[in-house]
C-alpha cells in the first residue's frame, strides 16, 4: 500500500525542525534517525520500560507510543536539552552525585520523567517519589540511588506552588 508522506514541523529543545516522513514513523525513531538525537533510548518499544520518555508540551510521554506526525506543532524536550558532558544539567548532576546510574541505558528516560515530576508533582514522601518513578525500569541500580537523587532534587525545589 502506498503511504502518503506528511510534512511535519516540530520544535525540539527549542530548535525548529521540518521533515517529510511516513505516518507510521514513531517519534522515538524520528528523533534518533531523522534528527540524529540518539540520547532518547529505545528499549521495549511497547510502552513498558520508559527508556524513550520525552516531554511533549511539558508533560512526559513515551516516544515509542507516539507517532511523529502526532507531534505537529508540539514543543518536544529530550535529554539533549538538559545539559552536556562539560556542563551537566541539575538532574544529571544529582544522578552523578548519588550514583543513580550504572550502565546508563535507562537514564535519559528517568531524567525526562523526573523533569515532569519536579515541575508538576508534590514528591513530599518517598512513597510519592517511588510511585512517580514506577513507570521507568532500571535493571542496574535497584532504584535506591535514584530515589536518593530525586529526594534531594524535590527538597531543593520545595513545595509546589
Amino acid at each position: 500500500m502506498p503511504e502518503k508522506k506528511i510534512t511535519l514541523s516540530v520544535s525540539v529543545n527549542g530548535v525548529a525542525h521540518t521533515a517529510t516522513i511516513e505516518p507510521r514513523m514513531l517519534l522515538s525513531d524520528f528523533l534518533r534517525h531523522e534528527l540524529g538525537l540518539t540520547g532518547t533510548h529505545v528499549g521495549c518499544e511497547h510502552g513498558v520500560c520508559g527508556a524513550c520518555t520525552v516531554l511533549l508540551d511539558g508533560r512526559s510521554a513515551r516516544s515509542c507510543l507516539t507517532l511523529a506526525v502526532q507531534a505537529e506543532g508540539v514543543e518536544i524536550e529530550t535529554v539533549e536539552g538538559q545539559g552536556s558532558v562539560d556542563q551537566l544539567g541539575r538532574i544529571q548532576e544529582a544522578f552523578r552525585q548519588h550514583h543513580a546510574l550504572q550502565c546508563g541505558f535507562c537514564t535519559p528516560g528517568f531524567i525526562m520523567a523526573i523533569t515532569d515530576m519536579l515541575r508538576h508533582h508534590p514528591l513530599e514522601s518517598d512513597e510519592q517519589i517511588r510511585e512517580a518513578l514506577s513507570g521507568n525500569i532500571c535493571r542496574c541500580t535497584g532504584y535506591e540511588h535514584i530515589v536518593n537523587a530525586v529526594r534531594e532534587l524535590a527538597r531543593e525545589r520545595g513545595p509546589l506552588t
Partner: protein, 343 residues
C-alpha cells in the same frame, strides 16, 4: 494475517508491564501459542518491531472522523491517547489502513457536570481526571481509582474513553463505567447511538461498538455526598493490571446500607457488576457475618481464569479478601460522611 477485533478501537490507557492478556488473547485467536510475546506478535512482513504502513488523518471535527472511519470500511482505527493501540500497532497485531487522530477535535477534552451526571469527553486524559475538582468532589472513588491506572507518563496521554473502548477486563476505567451506570455515546455517519455500560462490554477486549462507530463522550453517575466507597486492588507491582479488584459504594440510611453498588475486575472476561452481592448487602449493616456471607457467595459467582500470575482458586480467594476490605471501607466512610458532605 491480520487479526481484527472489529469492536475495539484499540485505544486508551495501558503500556503497563505484565504478561499481557491482550496479546495472549489475540495470539489465541490467531491460532498461535499464547505466551508473553507470541510469535505471531512479531512482524510477518519484515523489519523489526515497527508499525505496518497506514494513512493518517488528523481530524478537525467529529463529523470528519466519522466519515473517514466509514470510508475505511472496517479497517480504520481511531487514535486518542494511543497507550493501548500503539503497542498493538508496533507489534503489528493491528494493521489499520488509516489511523484517524481525534486529538485535534475541539471540545472533546472537557469534563462537565450535567445534572447528576458527569460527562467525560473522548480526549480527556487520565491525568485530567486524577486532578479534576468535579471528580474529586462528586466521584471520590474515581479519584481514588486513578492512582491505580498505570504510571504517570501513561496517565499523561491515555484517555478515559479510550480505556473503556479497549475494554481490558483487568483495567480500572471499564469497571468504573459499569459501576457508575455509564452511558457511552457512539458516533457514526448514521448518527449518535447511546449505549448503556451494561450492554457495552461483551468480552475480553470486545465491545458492542460497530466498526464505523467511535466514542465521543461517556456519562457517569455522580454520587450523593454522603456516599461511602471502597476500592481495593491487588496487582504484582503498583500500576500493573489487577489480579483482582473490588469497587463498591453505599449510603447508610436508618443504620443499614442502601444504594449498594458492587463491581469487580480481573476475575472474568469483562468487568463485572454483581447484583447478587448488591442485593445481599442492601438493607444490612456491615458485620463480620455478612462479610463472610459475601465472600462465600463470591466463590460461587466468579469464574476467574488461571494464568501465569495466579490460579483461579487464588483469584477467588483474593476476591473474598478484597471484598471484605472494600465493604468495610465503604461502610466506614459512609458512617463518617452521613452527617454531611464536609463532616
Amino acid at each position: 494475517m491480520q487479526v481484527k477485533f472489529e469492536n475495539a478501537p484499540w485505544d486508551g490507557e495501558a503500556g503497563r508491564s505484565r504478561d499481557d492478556k491482550a496479546f495472549r488473547d489475540i495470539s489465541e485467536h490467531s491460532g498461535a501459542h499464547g505466551r508473553t510475546m507470541p510469535e505471531s506478535a512479531f512482524p510477518i512482513d519484515g523489519g523489526g518491531m515497527k508499525p505496518a504502513p497506514f494513512e493518517y488523518l488528523a481530524a478537525t471535527s467529529a463529523a470528519e472522523a466519522a466519515e473517514a472511519l466509514a470510508a475505511a470500511n472496517g479497517d480504520g482505527k481511531i487514535i486518542a491517547g494511543g497507550q493501548s493501540l500503539m503497542p498493538m500497532i508496533n507489534f503489528r497485531l493491528v494493521k489499520p489502513t488509516i489511523l484517524i487522530d481525534i486529538n485535534r477535535i475541539a471540545g472533546l477534552d472537557r469534563i462537565e457536570k450535567h445534572g447528576e451526571r458527569l460527562r467525560i469527553g473522548a480526549t480527556v486524559r487520565h491525568r485530567m481526571i486524577a486532578t479534576d475538582a468535579l471528580v474529586h468532589r462528586h466521584i471520590p472513588i474515581l479519584h481514588d481509582a486513578m492512582h491505580h491506572v498505570a504510571h504517570l507518563t501513561v496517565r499523561n496521554r491515555g484517555t478515559f474513553c479510550g480505556s473503556v473502548c479497549h475494554a481490558d477486563p483487568a483495567a480500572e476505567m471499564p469497571m468504573m463505567t459499569l459501576l457508575l451506570d455509564g452511558t457511552i455515546a457512539a458516533l457514526s455517519i448514521r448518527g449518535e447511538r447511546q449505549i448503556a455500560a451494561s450492554e457495552f462490554f461483551v468480552g475480553s477486549l470486545m465491545t458492542s461498538l460497530e466498526p464505523d462507530e467511535f466514542v465521543t463522550w461517556i456519562d457517569i453517575d455522580t454520587l450523593p455526598p454522603e456516599t461511602g466507597w471502597g476500592f481495593e486492588e491487588f496487582s504484582r507491582r503498583h500500576g500493573d493490571f489487577a489480579l483482582a479488584c473490588v469497587a463498591t459504594t453505599m449510603r447508610i440510611v436508618d443504620g443499614v446500607a442502601c444504594d449498594v453498588r458492587f463491581g469487580m475486575m480481573g476475575v472474568g472476561e469483562t468487568p463485572l457488576r454483581l447484583p447478587d452481592i448488591e442485593t445481599l448487602v442492601e438493607g444490612q449493616a456491615i458485620s463480620e457475618t455478612l462479610l463472610q456471607d459475601v465472600s462465600e457467595a463470591l466463590k460461587g459467582l466468579l469464574q476467574p481464569n488461571t494464568d501465569i500470575h495466579a490460579s483461579a482458586d487464588y483469584r477467588r480467594h483474593l476476591a473474598g479478601v478484597l471484598a471484605r476490605r472494600a465493604l468495610r471501607d465503604a461502610w466506614k466512610r459512609a458512617t463518617f460522611r452521613k452527617d454531611g458532605p464536609d463532616a
